[in-house]
Symmetry: C2
């Protein structure tokens, strides 16, 4: 079985983010991978669902738990195109995620600006993969929104 | 129209928490009130839904937004029987809640132990109403769980 790289999975998350952009949502996408297989894909749907809790990560965690029939996700790797907010970092904590990978940082609303200890001690944290691609997508989205 | 007190609404949240206990869930309940009327009731359903994000507050915010057809809830008062965790405090932030009332404090997982600035600057924060009733319910639940 071919083992895919973190960049490969983050690119899958970026595909989700592009769907969000196409639907007029702030473009953030996520996938959850376990044993080299995607078990959940999601993108931000706060506008469509009229629900501030419908961030990509929350939807992905709910979907992954549903797929596995398990509340805790220690075997799972979450790839998300933007640094999680405090709400989503809190959800990652409760899920006891195995790995959390995010692409672009979010200096304004990202969890790490507030308190890094939000992340579960067992969760391995990685950032920066495909950050330029994610930033470009977000910047283009907001530029188009203003025009 | 009779105006109900904060204690009245917190008691409604406690009723939700008791439903949770009856269903084997950690007993936390919430209601969301707007203009003296409950628009959302919820209790913790993490076990039933196999979903760590299914806290009472998240379910209540989703239900309230659905009821109002609005993402933001500045006119709403959330009453919850236990201090929100970081995830739920983050959700309250995004919802721009008008008022957040919680009963018992949660020294271990409550948001205020980490960083009080998680709460939206426009959200009025109140705590302590019916805290003994909420604590009793939680302590009895965990005592029964151990036996």
């Amino acid at each position: 079985m071919e083992l895919f790289s973190d960049e490969y999975w983050m690119n899958e998350a970026l595909k989700q983010a592009r769907i969000a952009a196409d639907e007029g949502e702030i473009p953030v996408g996520a996938v959850i991978v376990v044993k080299n297989r995607v078990i959940a894909k999601a993108y931000n749907q706060t506008e469509k669902l009229t629900d501030v809790t419908a961030h990509a990560e929350i939807l992905a965690i709910t979907a992954a738990s549903n797929a596995l029939g398990a509340k805790y996700l220690p075997e799972c790797k979450l790839y998300v195109t933007l640094e999680p907010c405090i709400m989503c970092a809190g959800a990652c904590f409760w899920a006891q995620l195995g790995e959390l990978h995010f692409a672009a940082s979010d200096p304004k609303r990202g969890f790490s600006k507030t308190d890094i200890s939000i992340i579960h001690p067992k969760t391995k944290l990685h950032s920066g993969i495909l950050q330029e691609e994610s930033k470009d997508l977000l910047q283009t989205f907001f530029k188009n929104l203003r025009n």
